[in-house]
């Protein structure tokens, strides 16, 4: 099930809210049980019998957590190894077996290529479960003896299939004791409505453009059209993914959970390093805390430091997808980050902000071409088309069509990637009581307007993919 669906908005969410809030707050366990049941139903609705895989993942992480928290360090280590082996083993089979077999096959070895259905959100719930076991092992979190609480942590529907990757330490206290109240609920509703509209109005429109262009033969695209497609995908992936995070965070608020922010206006970054501090924060901090630092981080020789960065970005690329395009995408960022750290970073800082921003966006846009392409051949041809290596057969006004047809969405996108909301809020709050009243009422009224607009888009539109589900 996806948040931007009528099944969710008109069926699942109202029914859950009704049942959940009919239970008095003092019956916290019962409320949690309802939330868990709803979360499993939410996953089952889209994944069908693959829900059993998630239940297995929960069970493994629960047992792993029990072992990881033992005073006997050998047993504790076994708990981590057990949970990691099973969790990553399942992830490896479902996500990477086909890729691996295909690669071996391409090398000339006759191996069967397994046809495996990728369970939605497997990368998210695997990483989330592992973080619980590792945190328990490290002593950062206590053992959770109640399996239902571990299950709720892993399966909690707002962040289940597309993040943010919530750490156990972030929500462990809230699972046991949290307060659902009006201001939190209202803030959640407002955040959810903004996220929903961001998805329905901006991400979907940009997705239509990107799909329309990327689905053509890349070598035929004229440079203008290729750039329009790359820009559209740049906007689509941001609005799509950050919208999902907005909705997840908003839903979390409604049920008394405070998830950490996952995006912080990444497209205003003035370096690639800054971009990765602002983009998919929960993933980059996960890799930082569970891979980069354990490998030694930057407190080691330069060569090992570089190796650590390389490993993290190789894994980041692979986490996003089982394809060479994702590997290359990760390595592209690895190179840029190494370059900024050891070569041109200090020179970059001396350049005007606009040039630094242009550099960062150029690097990011090129990376999304790799990310969006179905294979390296398409990526290469598409990048070639962007820089004039094209047959130019498609010089037929398409670029202008995509700009004119979607001009309201382009205009909105150009505003929405900037921290306009933050600027407006600061500006209004500095204007005394009148400004504060506007800052109080306008976002809420706007949220309801956006809900109506999203409903219109849901009812009248047919293009509504969630691209981060594949990860």
């Amino acid at each position: 099930m996806v948040f931007s669906s009528l099944v969710f908005l008109l069926g699942f969410l109202p029914a859950l809210l009704l049942v959940y809030f009919l239970i008095p707050a003092r019956f916290r366990g019962l409320r949690n049980l309802v939330l868990l049941g709803a979360s499993l139903f939410f996953y089952w609705w889209g994944a069908s019998k693959l829900v059993l895989l998630m239940v297995l993942s929960i069970l493994v992480n629960y047992l792993g957590g029990l072992l990881a928290g033992q005073a006997d360090r050998r047993l504790a280590r076994f708990g981590v190894i057990f949970a990691s082996a099973v969790g990553l083993g399942l992830l490896g089979w479902f996500k990477y077996a086909g890729f691996l077999a295909q690669t071996i096959h391409n090398l000339g070895f006759a191996v069967p290529i397994p046809q495996v259905t990728l369970p939605i959100g497997i990368s998210f719930f695997t990483f989330q479960g592992l973080s619980y076991v590792i945190d328990v092992y490290r002593g950062d979190a206590p053992i959770q003896k109640n399996p239902l609480n571990v299950a709720l942590y892993v399966a909690l529907f707002p962040q289940l299939v597309a993040g943010p990757i919530v750490r156990y330490t972030t929500v462990m206290a809230e699972i046991a004791h949290r307060e659902e109240n009006l201001p939190e609920f209202a803030a959640g509703v407002t955040r959810f409505c903004f996220g929903l509209a961001k998805k329905m109005v901006l991400a979907n429109s940009m997705g239509q453009i990107a799909d329309g262009i990327f689905n053509q033969t890349a070598a035929n695209l004229d440079p203008g059209l290729a750039w329009v497609g790359a820009l559209a995908y740049t906007f689509q992936i941001y609005f799509d993914f950050s919208a999902y995070s907005d909705m997840a965070i908003g839903l979390g608020h409604m049920f008394g959970f405070r998830f950490l922010e996952n995006f912080n206006y990444p497209y205003i970054s003035r370096s690639v390093t800054e971009f990765w501090r602002r983009w998919h924060i929960s993933l980059s901090t996960w890799f930082r805390d569970y891979v980069y630092i354990p490998l030694g981080g930057n407190r080691c020789s330069r060569l090992k430091h570089m190796r650590n960065i390389f490993v993290v970005w190789l894994l980041t690329g692979l986490w996003h997808g089982a394809a060479w395009t994702f590997v290359l995408w990760g390595l592209w960022f690895c190179l840029l980050l190494l370059g900024e750290k050891f070569l041109w970073g200090k020179y970059l800082e001396k350049l005007p902000s606009l040039i630094r921003w242009a550099y960062a966006m150029f690097a990011v846009i090129l990376s999304w071409v790799l990310f969006r392409s179905v294979d390296l051949g398409q990526a290469w041809a598409y990048l070639g088309a962007m820089f004039g290596q094209t047959t130019g057969l498609a010089q037929d006004g398409q670029a202008l069509y995509y700009l004119l047809q979607f001009w309201p969405e382009w205009a909105l996108a150009l505003i929405a990637f900037l921290p306009v909301k933050r600027w407006a809020q600061s500006w209004l709050e500095a204007r005394g009581s009148a400004g504060q009243a506007v800052a109080l009422w306008v976002p809420r009224v706007l949220a309801l307007g956006l809900l109506a607009l999203s409903y219109l888009e849901l009812v009248t539109g047919s293009f509504n993919p969630f691209i981060y589900f594949q990860f």
């Binding site: 201001p183 069509y401 004119l404 949220a447 309801l448 809900l451 009248t460």
Partner: protein, 400 residues
């Protein structure tokens, strides 16, 4: 109560109220199986059973059903189209291009490949030559008529950045003409005929893919005159003296206008032509006798009329008998472009059969012709369908 609390209540009540209202209206709203403006069946849920629930079929079928039956859907679709047309002025709205006071069709961007088009033209001409051989095998005569569609007729009216298919048509027509010449199949291309007449605007619909009555009449006349000339016949050709032409007062909702919910109809009306000296005839559709009319006349003078006014729309097989054995019989086959031509053509024949390739699936066209052996067989296809074997475009195959 503090102001912030009022604001919080507003958003919470507004949110929950909106969802509750939308859900309630969706549930109690009378259900229809058909969307008139979209011209399609609305989604229905999969059968509810343990099996469909467990394999995910039922859950997957619910969202499209909710979308199709959601509260306020028709109004919202109309509102959305209105905003796209009048507020945002998008160049394309629901695959319709509002331009030059017309509603043109949006053509997907394409890179026409001369070799592919050449091969398709050769293949289609080859099949038509075989069909001609079938007809001539029992002593009949075969003619093929190519008519421009709206995008060709009004190609100049497309904005430069949209695809008018000029490049495709410029390759398609010469390739097809040459291939038909090589095969020796009679081809009447209405493109040059209409060009010679100066391409009057009123000959083609401004809000529909088809021609207007005037364009259809010119086509009808060109066919009949060619038959008389080639075959030495003396078929009656209805003209200004023998035909009463009447324009209906009803607004014409063309297929393009329909796609944008009738928000624009270009002020068009439909015209019919009635013989001043009518003849009795019987009509059977798909084997069942039906009213002896060729126009599906509206009940009132105000309701919208559709292109289905002509021959009552698309019917798999229609047979009109005028019981005049001295006259030849004719089979006209094709798609909706044949309909207004048939409204006039029956008058000149003893028997007129009509096959809509998209709907007739009892046997192949070649088998049908062999079975009934009409004296004259005329295929009418528009430029878009000319080389296509889709929708039973191949005379020797039936597609499911």
């Amino acid at each position: 109560m503090k102001k912030s609390k009022w604001a919080d209540w507003l958003v919470v009540i507004g949110f929950l109220g909106f969802l509750a209202l939308a859900l309630a209206v969706t549930l109690v709203r009378p259900k229809s199986g058909w969307s008139y403006y979209e011209n399609r069946n609305l989604a229905r849920p999969a059968e509810l059973s343990v099996e469909t629930v467990l394999d995910g079929t039922f859950p997957a079928s619910v969202e499209p059903v909710l979308q199709d039956h959601a509260a306020g859907r028709n109004i919202l679709m109309k509102l959305s189209a209105w905003a796209d047309l009048h507020l945002f002025h998008r160049p394309v709205v629901n695959e319709v291009v509002p331009s030059d006071g017309m509603l043109l069709g949006f053509n997907a961007y394409e890179t026409p490949d001369p070799a592919v088009i050449h091969n398709q033209a050769q293949a289609m001409a080859g099949q038509l030559a075989q069909l001609r051989d079938v007809v001539e095998g029992y002593g009949g005569h075969f003619y093929y008529v190519a008519v421009p569609g709206q995008y060709t007729y009004f190609s100049d009216s497309y904005p430069d950045f949209l695809n008018s298919r000029e490049a495709y048509t410029a390759l398609e027509i010469p390739a097809f003409t040459q291939a038909m010449e090589e095969q020796g199949v009679n081809l009447l291309d209405m493109g040059p005929v209409l060009d010679q007449l100066g391409k009057p605007k009123e000959y083609y619909s401004l809000a529909d893919y088809h021609y207007q009555f005037e364009g259809a009449y010119v086509t009808y006349r060109a066919i009949l005159e060619e038959l008389n000339r080639d075959l030495g016949l003396d078929l009656t050709v209805l003209d200004g003296d023998s035909l009463t032409v009447e324009t209906l007062p009803n607004p014409y909702l063309g297929s393009r206008g329909r796609k944008i919910f009738g928000l624009e109809n270009c002020g068009e009306h439909l015209t019919i032509g009635l013989p001043k000296d009518p003849i009795p005839f019987t009509r059977a559709d798909n084997g069942a006798e039906t009213a002896a009319t060729v126009y599906a006349m509206p009940a009132t003078g105000t309701e919208d009329v559709l292109y289905s006014l002509y021959m009552g729309g698309d019917v798999g097989e229609t047979v009109i008998e005028t019981n005049r054995p001295g006259l030849p019989s004719i089979l006209i086959y094709g798609d909706s472009f044949t309909n207004p031509v048939e409204c006039l053509a029956y008058y000149s024949f003893d028997e007129m059969r009509s096959i809509d390739l998209r709907h007739y699936k009892d046997r192949t066209l070649a088998d049908y012709i062999q079975t009934y052996q009409p004296d004259i067989v005329v295929g009418i296809r528009d430029y878009e369908a000319l080389l296509s074997t889709d929708f039973n475009g191949s005379p020797f195959q039936i597609q499911p």
